[in-house]
Amino acid sequence: MLNIAIIAVSAAVIVWLELPRMLREQEYREIWGFIAFLVIGIGISLAQTIFNDIPTPVSLITIVFKPFSHWLSMFGLIQ
C-alpha cells in the first residue's frame, strides 16, 4: 500500500512540475506524449509492486537475435 502511495505522490509531483508550463504554452502534442509515457511508467511500477517477479524485457531481443548468435558462435566469434 505504501508503495502505491509513493508512486501516486511521485506521479503527482512530476505532473505538477511539467504540466502547468505546457498548458500555458499550449503544447498539446507534448502533453499527449508526456501523459502516454507517464502512464506506461506508472503501469510498469504498479506491475512491479503487485507481481513480485516480472520477466525481463530483454528476452524479446534474445528471441530475435538467438539465430544470429548461434551463427556467430559456429565461427567461434562468440565464446
Partner: protein, 374 residues
C-alpha cells in the same frame, strides 16, 4: 525548440567519455576470460576493427552533416516503415543501452561499495541525475563533460602512474600462447561494447555541432582517446593482476585501484578512484538517454523533447531494476546476445542505409520516368 550548438572540442570530449563509459568496468574481465594474457593484443585488433566500423557510421554523417539517423531512415524507407524501424531501434536501444548501464552501476555499487543498500536506491538516485542532465540539454551536458574530463584524466593517469611499481611483466608471457584464434572473439567483445554503440552519437551530433562539416574528425579523436584509455586499463589489469584474476573478477579495474600501495602509506584509495567510473558511466547513460529522448520526439513530431524526459526517466529507472534477473544472466546476455544485436544496429544498419542512399542516387532519373509514364 531552440537550436543546440556545441563545439568540436566538446564533441571529442563527449565521444571519449562515451567510449570509455561502462567499458572501463566490464571490458577487461570479459576479454581476459577469452584471450587470457593476450587481451591487450585483442584490444589493439578491436580498436582497428572499431575504426573501420566508425568509418561506416561516420559516412552517414559526412554525407549529410545536418540529418540525423532518424531523418535518414524516414527519408530512405518512407514515412511509415521508417517510423516503425526508428521506434524498434529506439525501444531496443532503450532496453539494451541506458537501462542495462544503469543496472550495471547498481550491481557495481551493491557488490563492491555499499553491500547493504538495496539496488533500487542506487538506481533511482543515479537515474535522477541522468534525468536532470538530459532535461537541461546537450549544451549543459557538453559543458559538464568539459569540466569533468580533466578530473577523469587526473584520476586515470594518477592511477596508472601509482600502479607502475606493481607491474609484473611476466604476467604477459607467453605471448600468443594459444595462437591467434582467441583474439577474434575477444576483439569482437571489445568492439561490441566500446565502438558499435557509437551509432547513438549519429542521433545526437548531426545538426548539433557548430562546424558540422568537421565534426567527424572530432568523433575520431574522441574515440581514439577512449580506445587509448581502454587499452591502458586492459594492459594494466593483465600486468598487475594477471590474466586469471582479471578474468575471475567482475570489476578488475576496481581491483586494480585496491592494489595501489606506495610505501604502505598511500593505499586503499579505490573509493576515490571510483569517482572516475561515476563520471564515465554518467555520460554513457546520459548520452544514450538523450538520444532516445530526441529520437522519440522526432518520431512523434514533438517539438520540445524536454517534457518527455521525466516520464521516460521513470520508465528507465523502473525497467532497469529488473532488466537483468541475476548476474549470471547478465554475463551470458552481454556475451551472446548483445554482440549480435550491436553488430546489427551499429554496423549492418548504417551499411544498409548507405547502400540504399547510393541506389537512390544512382536511379533518380529512372524513377522519375516511371512516375511520368504511370
Amino acid at each position: 525548440m531552440h537550436v543546440v550548438k556545441i563545439s568540436l572540442r566538446q564533441v571529442s570530449i563527449l565521444t571519449a567519455l562515451y567510449t570509455i563509459g561502462s567499458a572501463i568496468l566490464i571490458v577487461p574481465s570479459g576479454m581476459a576470460s577469452i584471450a587470457k594474457q593476450d587481451a591487450w593484443i585483442a584490444c589493439l585488433a578491436g580498436s582497428g576493427l572499431g575504426f573501420i566500423i566508425l568509418a561506416v557510421q561516420l559516412q552517414l554523417f559526412r554525407k549529410h552533416p545536418e540529418a540525423n539517423l532518424m531523418q535518414w531512415t524516414e527519408k530512405l524507407f518512407g514515412k511509415w516503415i521508417g517510423k516503425t524501424v526508428n521506434l524498434l531501434l529506439l525501444l531496443t536501444l532503450f532496453l539494451g543501452g541506458p537501462a542495462t548501464v544503469l543496472h550495471e552501476i547498481g550491481i557495481f555499487m551493491t557488490i563492491q561499495m555499499l553491500p547493504e543498500t538495496p539496488i533500487q536506491a542506487i538506481i533511482f538516485l543515479f537515474g535522477a541525475l541522468a534525468v536532470l542532465g538530459v532535461r537541461l540539454g546537450l549544451e549543459v551536458l557538453a559543458r559538464a563533460a568539459e569540466m569533468l574530463f580533466p578530473w577523469f584524466l587526473l584520476l586515470f593517469l594518477s592511477m596508472s602512474i601509482l600502479l607502475l611499481s606493481e607491474i609484473h611483466w611476466e604476467h604477459a608471457t607467453p605471448i600468443l600462447e594459444s595462437g591467434i584464434s582467441p583474439i577474434f572473439p575477444a576483439a569482437l567483445s571489445f568492439v561490441s561494447i566500446a565502438f558499435l554503440p557509437h551509432i547513438v552519437l549519429m542521433v545526437i551530433f548531426p545538426g548539433a555541432v557548430n562546424r558540422s562539416a568537421e565534426a567527424y574528425k572530432a568523433v575520431y579523436i574522441g574515440s581514439l582517446v577512449g580506445a587509448a584509455a581502454l587499452f591502458l586499463i586492459i594492459g594494466l589489469s593483465i600486468l598487475v593482476l594477471g590474466p586469471d584474476i582479471t578474468a575471475r573478477n567482475m570489476y578488475p579495474s576496481y581491483m586494480l585501484a585496491k592494489k595501489i600501495n606506495i610505501g604502505n602509506f598511500l593505499q586503499r584509495i579505490e573509493a576515490v578512484m571510483a569517482v572516475m567510473w561515476f563520471i564515465t558511466l554518467f555520460f554513457r547513460i546520459s548520452l544514450y538517454f538523450y538520444a532516445i529522448a530526441i529520437g522519440i520526439s522526432q518520431v512523434f513530431h514533438i517539438k520540445n523533447y524536454q517534457p518527455l524526459v521525466m516520464p521516460l526517466g521513470w520508465i528507465l529507472a523502473a525497467v532497469s531494476v529488473f532488466i537483468y534477473p541475476n548476474v549470471p544472466f547478465k554475463l551470458q546476455w552481454d556475451a551472446t546476445i548483445w554482440v549480435p544485436y550491436t553488430i546489427t544496429v551499429g554496423f549492418l544498419f548504417p551499411l544498409v542505409l548507405l547502400i540504399l542512399h547510393g541506389l537512390r542516387k544512382m536511379l533518380p532519373k529512372k524513377s522519375k520516368k516511371q512516375s511520368d509514364s504511370a
